[in-house]
Amino acid sequence: MGDDRITPVDLPEPRYEYGGDDHVFVELAEAMSFTANFKAMAITQQVAEREIDGVVENCPANASYMLRIDPDVAHPDTIIEELREIEAALDVENYEWETRVIDVPVLFEDPWTHETLMEFRDRHQDPDGTDLEYSAELNGFDSVEAFIDAFVAAPHMVTMVGFVPGLPWCFQMVPRERQLEVPKYVEPRTDTPSRAIGFGGAFSVIYPVQGAGGYQLYGRTPIEVLDVDQRLPDFEDSIVYPNPGDILNYRRIDREEYDEIREEVEAGSYEYTDEPVTFSTEEFFDAPDEYNQRLVEVIA
């Protein structure tokens, strides 16, 4: 399966920026990498653990992180000083956190996203094909099948949640050479079905609700990432299911299984397949393919 190691990246010095008087934004790198994301994850986890006075919101992002602070409680510089301390003590290549491996069933080339993507062909780079045909060709695959195979061959890590409630940005857990990459639509669509699986830049997303969007559309999952009424048992503690650091395993399903799962979701009885794991950056960097296999096995 190609390269069997992920080489950690040398990151620049973090840039600490004031977001007005009540936010601190920290850019760890301009480019996406696992090193940058794991660092964002590790620092925000440490921030949570230390229960730093004056921290109101604590948000890891793809290659940066952001805190909302209450400057009446702590001066932003006091908080930045503590962030520098955390950063200095961190060994991101040898770090662990408790997370989950999650089964995400996907009906690729489903009728709903297909209808949408055909409707907005005039906003796409390739008006004559589908988003999957375009993405397969751009990434050097012979067929849509082969592209989907690569998309589901390794799990995707949730590197950030946001834009709207419940939307996970996910980065596939493979070496850089095997990362898939596609541009967003030339002009964003005004419509996207809820639960659509999209891909843009180097990130896969799940659209929580129907709405505008600019990512290439590949399929649809029958499961929810947002349940405002908290009807499903897995939403008991939060209206949002995915969390930063979660590991999503996209699994190809057929229409029959899609309908079965959807029926259970609508009945409020569906229970998500997820298992807790300890994620080790060291083991992942050393042998990603082998490590991914072990991770995914826990939900087999």
Binding site: H23, A29, A31, P71, I239, V240
Partner: protein
Amino acid sequence: MIRITDGGIASTVQDLGRFGNYHIGMPPSGAMDEYAHTVANYLVGNDEDAATIEMTYQGVTATFDEDAVVAITGADMSPTHNGDPIDTWTTVAVEAGDELELSFATEGARAYLAVAGGIDVPEVMGSRSTYTLVGIGGQDGRTLEDGDELAIGERTEDRRDLVGETVGDEYVPEYATEDTVRVILGLTDYRLTEESKADLCEAEWTVSPEADRVGYRLDGPDIEFEERDQPFGAGTDPSNVVDLGYPVGSIQVPQKPIVLMQDAVTGGGYATVGTVISVDRGRLAQRQTHKSVYFEPVEIDDALTARQERHDRLSEIRKEVELED
């Protein structure tokens, strides 16, 4: 109970916001103009976090089926009480059966109606604020409509003693002329050319019709970006960065600048170039469509001083209202 007979253009129940969920994509919501919201609450004897009705451009018409003590602050929407004009920024008594009617905003964009006891909708995730995108908080997670009935919270004491209280002119903002908002530049403003950075702070910007609780899109000179090879994962457009968190109040530049407000999208892939300081976000929220806006760059200590002055001002108002009991 307050019975809404006309919901106005975009009226919602708001308090000071919902915190602790930005990392799962949930913005704070809450009053767009915290100052006006807070003063309205003080005038009726509430704490600042009681829920009020925020009205945009056109206010509500409402009848009360119980006696209540109310105050209206913020944009001037020419309110009447049983048909007679009443003062804004002033505590007013209404009786069961009375009607309050607000019209179109003449100055400012958002008015706040506070009632002693607060608007008593259920708390969702620790706040009564309405967030319409996913439909939570406030009245069924949406803007107010004809026929809505809003309960008034329990009053710990009779606040009729406050009727007639008003705040001094020095505490009432002049929305028509307050066109400057202070910003701390930074975030990823390295994406802008020097010329565009200068434009940001010197040009006249105008509020576009796309200005709501999510964000204020501003019209003005074209933004130019520094040329670069786009970093891995950032996307192909020069305005794109690797997706990052957006501070509330931050200015993002997909092309025309958008200032993110209380119902902000929490993150995304557009370069951000600075953040409106907390006390000036309400000032922007009061700028009407097509009105001008100027950004004035300030340092962190100026922003903190402005914040302290705001606190002091509000304490003075509260003291003034309570002392004259």
